[in-house]
Amino acid sequence: MATRGPPGARPGMGNRFAQFKLVLLGESAVGKSSIVLRFVKDQFDSYRESTIGAAFLTQTIALDENTTVKFEIWDTAGQERYKSLAPMYYRNANCAVVVYDITQAASLDKAKSWVKELQRQANENIIIALAGNKLDLVQEQPDKRAIQTADAQAYAKEAGLLFFETSAKTAENVQNLFTEIAKKLPLDQVGPRHARPGQRPGVSLAPEGANTQVGGPCAC
């Protein structure tokens, strides 16, 4: 299980601390948020509503006695309308988890297109993991499976991805998934402490005057 390191802990003598940006991508309703919730809080909620926009969470895991890895996780919404925002989340990502639903054939196609996009546009060295979620469903009813493990495995191998079938509900392979990602990350070169997206000129909303009015007439 994850051991939550002290936030902002500094690497001590002989200890390594690394921080990485991770992004979750995939079709809507495949269980991205549930995987994150299982990883970060070890909880599961069967009636979860769709993510709106994106959620930002952090989790720290200890790889071994001397190595601590902190993940800064962007859990994105899977709906088509948010697609144009995705580059903002994967731009500086060190790793990505692309999730599909093993009971929905189309979700793997979507996952493949995300992988393609990441390989084309994200960091050159990005570590990508493919996660086939909802393993618990096919364990109950094997006929629900729409994507064979071997097929997905073959694809992952060919595309150079880590591969797991997971269940956010039973926690199967969730921790594993993140640990394996952490192991593949370049721990020697410490990740950016705060990978800030590049600044862009936006509308300036700077105040006209420095004085602040408090308790004045409300006109909202």
Binding site: L37, G53, Q199, Q213
Partner: protein, 673 residues
Amino acid sequence: MDRDIEAGSNYSSNNIQNNESNTEAVDHVSPLPPRPSRKLSDDGASGALHVAAASKPTTQVSTIDISTLSFPDGSRGTFSTSATSATRSVASPQSSASGYTSPRTDPAETVSVASYPATLRPPGDLADLVTGEFNRRSRAWSMLRTQSSSVQPFEASRTGACDSLAGFEKEFDDIPELGEKGITDEQRLSLWKSKMKHYMILSSAGKPIWSRHGDTSLINSYMGVVQTIISFYEGAKDPLLGFTAGNARFVISTQGPLYFVAISRLGESDAQLRSQLDALYMQILSTLTLPTLKNIFAHRPSTDLRKPLEGTESLLSSLADSFTKGSPSALLGALECLRLRKSHRATINNAFLKCRSDKLLYGLIVAGGKLVSVIRPRKHSLHPSDLQLIFNMLFESGGIRAGGGENWVPLCLPAFNNRGYLYMYVSFFDSVDTAAAAAAAAEENNNSNNPEQPPQPPPPKPATSPDEEIAIILISADKESFFELKSMRDKLALQLAKNGSLQLIQSAARQRRPRIETILNTNNSQSTTTEGQIGQLSHFLYKSRANVQFCQSSLSPTFESPPRSSPSEKDSVSSQRKTEKLVSRRRLMTLYHHLHASIHAKHSHLKVLHLVSEDAASLAWITPVFEFYCVAGPNMSRGRYLRSGFGSWNEKWSILRLVAWLQLLKSGLVGCY
């Protein structure tokens, strides 16, 4: 031209006749078609009295004193100061019995009224109510009434449970899905038809977009019918606005390529239903923005909008459910604020402004759906309808709260600008990240050789119920500004924890809304009220028009399950009580909707409306400054209401005092920068 249609007694009836409602003279009840099953209007002959102060003097042969005052807001300046009408002197055999003395016998009366803030000038509006002859009844009647005056509103229907709201507790149950075992299609259909409120959204091409109840297989055919009817009138350039079928009111709103339909058996007015439909439209715009919506349909009129809106169904549903349950915020078009001392709020506002990031457009602190603090640029205001959408997203639907992280949400605030997206940073407080913020700051201090700040102790137990959750909302126009707003939030959280504001907010949120007894008691320390005589007024709503804010008294115990009941108790008794309260809350809200509709009816020019039914007595009172609505048990007379209704405070104008108290609640809610 507006068109109103009266149809027969079921949905599919084609007995349609047109009825130009707008041109009708507005009678004193409401300009709407009658709603026969409503109890309130049933006994209108005996009970419902509308008193329009403006019309009253014409019936009086009087020696009334007219004073003229002009008010800054340009309101009517003429009113009768002391009610010395001719009828008055003959009246009131009942006064002594009910402990009610007429104003003229009390020389201090005018003084006490005049000593209220200048904004409180209603004696003119209310004098007739207090002194008119409507209340003249025999001494025996009055004595009887003093015995029974403690009857709570809706008590009769609560015991009877056999009224129009009988099935309301099942209103929010899901309809079983197609193919669920043991359920036939007929059963599903009858469940669907049993719902008292329906909302539907469809495209003008007839494609279903969203419906509160029932899945596509169930409602597709009805959507088709709806589309046919609406299109027929659209085609005739004579848009259909609404019609009545049986006891259901249909209201239709057309927004470009979208049709919105509300079907209600809860007795709202057309205007109220239409504003609910507008809110649903705003929710859609908030997801898509207007140009996108237009584009979608310009290119392909037959587009299925469900795909672009995917994932927001729950937002539409929670919005719809809040209307069906009865939302004072939606009814009044105003926001509720958390009660805080002015100095405390100023502290919070100052901290907020101090931490402000350059990227920030709007910043809000919200506790349990009540505003705590807002900061905004001097030139931009924040519209209540936009805030309603945000609050719905955060507090009514679970999508954001459940995640437990920090959220970055692109959304369009249609009243602010319906053409583009803003980006909203949301984070709910919980002890973990507050502690983390404190630790991080302590660390920062250490690094910068500024060790004077000791690490903060962990804050008190975090709020748990949705009513107490505190959220920080930071809105920016820059989609890349997440981390800047995040660090602003961390700074702010630290500040608030450090200066104690966080605890203040938490305890204020826990305190819930004030009870009427408490308000009146604290307002007058020398009162000699005894338990049992007070609190005959059961609930009130007060809207400050200038601030677009409202406040209300506690809904408990009459309209709400007692607060802080442990969520773990799941026995049938408590759940039964819960549904009971749901129903009685809806009764209250139905009454408020009725009052609101009547007093805001076109051409009505009402200022004060007093309504008595066998269930409840209620009062609505509007001035340019505020709107006030209150409800009491059915035996409360108007005089008692206004003056002597609170036990032994004979000469205290209880409602007036209440309103005076409310007017002091001017909040320095908004900080501008």
